[in-house]
């Protein structure tokens, strides 16, 4: 049958390759120097904060070292490093919801000399606890219910026995 689909797996492969290529190109395009280094801490799903930072384009770069604490700080000196990454993002898990957390990421060389650093804050929270608009929600509910009742009344009955689309 000519109408039957063929080769969807090859289409999927092509789309996957294009998507990976696009991610790669985007990643390459955003590389910058130490002076452009910036950290963004965002509340993710509950108890999680997602850290993303701009890449440092320095041949001496060894790793990005990550720090966080519930107390504010403006220097990482003497602080315990929580993780060291090669990439430009990191997900911090199991944080206490509703508590402001302070984050820092430093780009370091093999001697642990800081090439660049930045700080940011975020408060992990239950994301959908944000205000629920009661009136909007009830308007949607009541409107759907009215339409549903209208359809129930207007829809043609099948009558006795089995019928309808069969």
């Amino acid at each position: 049958m000519s109408l039957i689909r063929r080769g969807h797996s090859s289409k999927a492969l092509t789309i996957s390759c294009l998507a990976v290529l696009a991610l790669f190109v985007l990643g390459l395009g955003s590389a910058g120097g130490a002076e452009d280094f910036s950290l963004l801490a965002e509340n993710n799903y509950e108890g999680e904060v997602r850290l993303t930072w701009t890449p440092v384009d320095d041949p001496e770069l060894n790793a990005y070292v990550i720090y966080w604490d519930t107390e504010e700080f403006d220097s990482v000196a003497g602080m315990e490093a929580k993780s060291a990454e090669r990439g430009t993002s990191f997900m911090v898990l199991d944080l206490e919801n509703g508590v402001e957390h302070y984050f820092a990421v430093t780009a370091v060389d093999s001697n642990q000399t800081i090439l660049a650093q930045d700080f940011d804050t975020a408060t992990p929270k239950l994301p959908h606890l944000k205000e629920i608009n009661y009136w909007n929600l009830m308007a949607v509910f009541i409107l759907t219910t009215i339409i549903f009742i209208y359809v129930i009344i207007k829809i043609p009955s099948w009558g006795k026995g089995k019928a309808g689309g069969m």
């Binding site: 898990l93 339409i147 689309g165």
Partner: protein
């Protein structure tokens, strides 16, 4: 049936010309969306792995493994899942996974509301399909389309309630925070009802215009052979036993009446 096909012979029986072309075009478009969703799930799982967010890697892998279930059912058990159900199931999983991986739950207030709506909509469509198949293939159930619509809403509301009880139980047993207070639970239940009502109306439209019959033709045949046919045979057997008992009682009464007459 052709395993590689978007549409099967049974689905397009009786269609010709522009109708056939439109049906196949729509089925191909939906199949392509399904493929894109699967690719999206793979990319999300990779991003989660890079982030070290293993909960979402697991969720992505679960969704991916689940995406093979329809083809396993088709190849091993000759059960073809209707493409609408397949699409809705993957869509619900996909929205949840990308919501977690790309921080969409945090960025958009409405993301959680939307995922609740889509999940219940999907479950209600599954419920409606099951009722429809029972109506068509099983002699034990006859329903008017209005009753099917109302029961679809009941199923959606029931499953939404079960979901909330599961969330609450998880919190009680494992100390998690799946439930975020009364407002959030009420919002979830309202969206469950809205999703179920829209599923009921759309399902009724599909039933009346024949789309449901076409979509479920293969699935219905398989269910009829493996489930409903068996139930029907058991019912027939039970009915025969009941009839025999009734005949025996009747025969005994007649004998008694005859002896009284004498």
């Amino acid at each position: 049936m052709d395993d590689s096909g978007v549409v099967t012979e049974r689905e397009i029986e009786g269609l010709s010309g522009a109708e056939l072309e439109a049906y196949v075009k729509r089925a191909k478009r939906i199949a392509m969306i399904s493929v894109l969703i699967k690719v999206g799930i793979v990319i999300s799982a990779i991003v989660a792995l890079i982030d070290g967010s293993y909960v979402w890697v697991f969720a992505g892998l679960f969704a991916l493994v689940f995406s093979f279930v329809p083809s396993i059912l088709k190849k091993n058990y000759h059960i073809s899942i209707p493409w609408v159900l397949e699409l809705l199931i993957f869509l619900a999983l996909f929205l949840h996974v990308i919501g977690g991986v790309f921080n969409l739950y945090g960025k958009f207030n409405w993301w959680d509301t939307m995922t609740h709506f889509v999940s219940t909509f999907m479950l209600a469509v599954v419920g409606l399909t099951v009722i429809y198949l029972m109506h068509v293939y099983w002699d034990g159930l006859k329903m008017d389309i209005r009753a099917i619509m109302v029961f679809t809403v009941f199923i959606g509301a029931f499953l939404g309630g079960v979901w909330e009880i599961m969330e609450w139980s998880t919190d009680q047993i494992f100390g998690t925070t799946e439930q975020h207070g009364l407002d959030d639970t009420m919002k979830d239940l309202v969206m469950d009802m809205v999703g179920a009502m829209i599923a009921a109306m759309l399902g009724a439209k599909w039933i009346l215009d024949g789309t449901m019959r076409r979509m479920t033709a293969d699935f219905g045949d398989a269910m009829n052979e493996k489930v409903f046919g068996r139930i029907g045979a058991e019912m027939a057997e039970t009915a025969t036993d009941e009839a025999k008992k009734a005949l025996d009682i009747l025969s005994n009464r007649r004998s008694q009446d005859a002896s009284h007459m004498r």
